[in-house]
Symmetry: C2
Subunit: 333 residues, 2 copies
């Protein structure tokens, strides 16, 4: 069954490009929607993405490329969305094809800022996609290492284990190991929250805190993540599995992480605006911070989320990073 399904990726950033690469290891043809006409033309001419993971060469006969989101949505059975959360809402406004019976996979790393919804929730509400047709791809997996074919692990979450497994199979290869999970909501929140903690790690580094502090921060972060997710979706989950803790660590510790880099600039004294201007890529955690803060505000009983609150105060309330981290340090243990 899985062999006959058609897969498509929506997005043209580094993570989208990495997922197309993974699928190309197994699929005869992969659909690929990219908004930019230039990116598509470049790909056709040069066989690689002009801006992201440009070392990865594609065989054009394996790709069904289009700038028309509906053409690709129509083409595929499994639609994998990898558009930055800041742009997903407006991109999806173009989507008019009936996708009720298709499988929708979220590989975005945040919440839709306009609605505060997870991607799965958005598809359920707007397109009547049943929850058993919604899946999530989680790391720990930096796209840059997929390009280098360095061994990486993915977790595919879906309420329907059969679907999770065929998506997992479609992504598996010599350098990609997969596992499946039934914690769709938890995985999607984890993917989003880790970016906030990566910003916190970056700020700490920028302020001059060392490795000892960093490890305490991460140890508090995973406990905070566990509390946050439990409030949204209570179920038995081991927060130390790779999809949660692993993903937090790769983002919090890696030099590839854009969120950590963004935080580092804030810690070093850049304003939010100037740090954003310096960076050509969107730091997802910036939007995630506000979403997570608001979600907790709207909880009937709030959870203790000292790290998220601290990042929120710095990014959105103009508070001084140094003073905020001195207060935070007293709350960590």
């Amino acid at each position: 069954m899985s062999n006959e399904l058609k897969y498509a990726v929506f997005g043209s950033g580094s993570w989208a490009t990495a997922i197309v690469k993974m699928l190309c290891e197994n699929q005869a043809e992969v659909g690929w929607y990219m908004r930019s006409v230039y990116a598509k033309e470049h790909l056709i001419k040069e066989q690689h993405n002009p801006s992201y993971l440009s070392s990865v060469e594609f065989r054009l006969e394996q790709l069904k490329l289009s700038n028309d989101i509906n053409e690709i949505a129509n083409y595929a059975d499994v639609l994998i969305f990898v558009i930055p959360s800041a742009f997903i809402y407006s991109e999806l406004e173009k989507l008019t094809v009936d996708i009720t019976n298709k499988t929708v996979v979220s590989a975005i790393k945040g919440i839709i800022p306009e609605t505060g919804l997870l991607l799965g929730e958005h598809f359920h509400d707007t397109y009547n996609v049943p929850f058993e047709n919604i899946a999530v791809i989680a790391g720990p997996c930096h796209a840059e290492e997929v390009a280098l074919e360095r061994l990486s692990y993915l977790t595919i979450s879906c309420d329907d284990a059969t679907k999770a497994q065929y998506i997992a199979n479609a992504l598996s290869s010599d350098y990609i190991k997969t596992k499946i999970s039934d914690d769709v909501i938890g995985t999607e929140y984890a993917v989003m929250l880790k970016n906030i903690y990566a910003i916190a790690a970056g700020i700490a580094h920028g302020l001059g805190y060392g490795d000892n502090f960093q490890s305490v921060l991460m140890s508090n972060a995973i406990r905070e993540m566990k509390r946050f997710i439990k409030k949204k979706h209570k179920m038995k989950r081991n927060i130390n599995n790779s999809a949660y803790l692993g993903d937090l660590l790769v983002t919090g510790y890696s030099l590839f992480s854009r969120n950590r880099m963004f935080g580092n600039m804030i810690g070093k004294g850049y304003t939010v605006k100037s740090a954003q201007m310096e960076m050509s890529m969107v730091a997802e955690g910036y939007y995630a911070t506000k979403s997570a803060y608001l979600i907790n505000q709207n909880n009937k009983k709030k959870t203790k989320i000292h790290i998220i609150d601290t990042v929120y105060n710095i990014l959105y309330q103009g508070k001084d990073p140094k003073k905020e981290f001195i207060k935070l340090a007293d709350k960590l243990d």
Copy 2:
């Protein structure tokens, strides 16, 4: 009460030197036993340890230095042992003073290789020190960052919370935050096990595995550590607290880590012997690997400890790191 107690540190490595520095922030006088006559003479002449953390200046009038272990054991009420596990057994053979009523604190990072016992167990068996007089200092805390006065967190474990608290107070300062715990055995095992995982992280790095793999390795390591400790001492503990997870991360990810460095050399193709000769410091994890492996072998029902087994096979069975890690990678998730 705590103010009147006399503290002493036994050992002259970097962690011992860091603990003396912490105590000097609070205590009028600190006892310090060091085996080396040269180190003591150098300290008296130059006010710093000749070999470790030599940037840290001491005020001599605050130190009671001696090369006689019994003199210092006699002098102090709280004895903090920071001697590498490979040498602790022979060092302790010199100890003849009655220490039954003193508080014995372990800051060693391993098991006594000759006996397979934790330091606390050794003091209980050999010197009749009651368990409520035995405490453990755990990180995450690289000595090098203490020297730089970078904010760090310690956990002091003791069955007797009052004792844990006064030791914590004696170590606390502007740059050292402390918490207490009653999980003496769990903390001591965690301190030992993390060094094995740091070797594994180093081997992976040396073999060319990337950040994605590293985070999966750490996520598996903390689950393995939880299982291992639970077998030895079942109690309610949050393995994600700083003393366990934080300490694992600082050791597994930090460039300061000697164990990671040792592993890295093994991964790059050094033999165990040549890697040990290259390094002037003892990699505690080397001894810990054998101890942990044997402890699990002696468990009635073995725990799955794939990472420890892998490191054991490489360090003690002469197995090829590359092949062993390919096998390990299949067992991680």
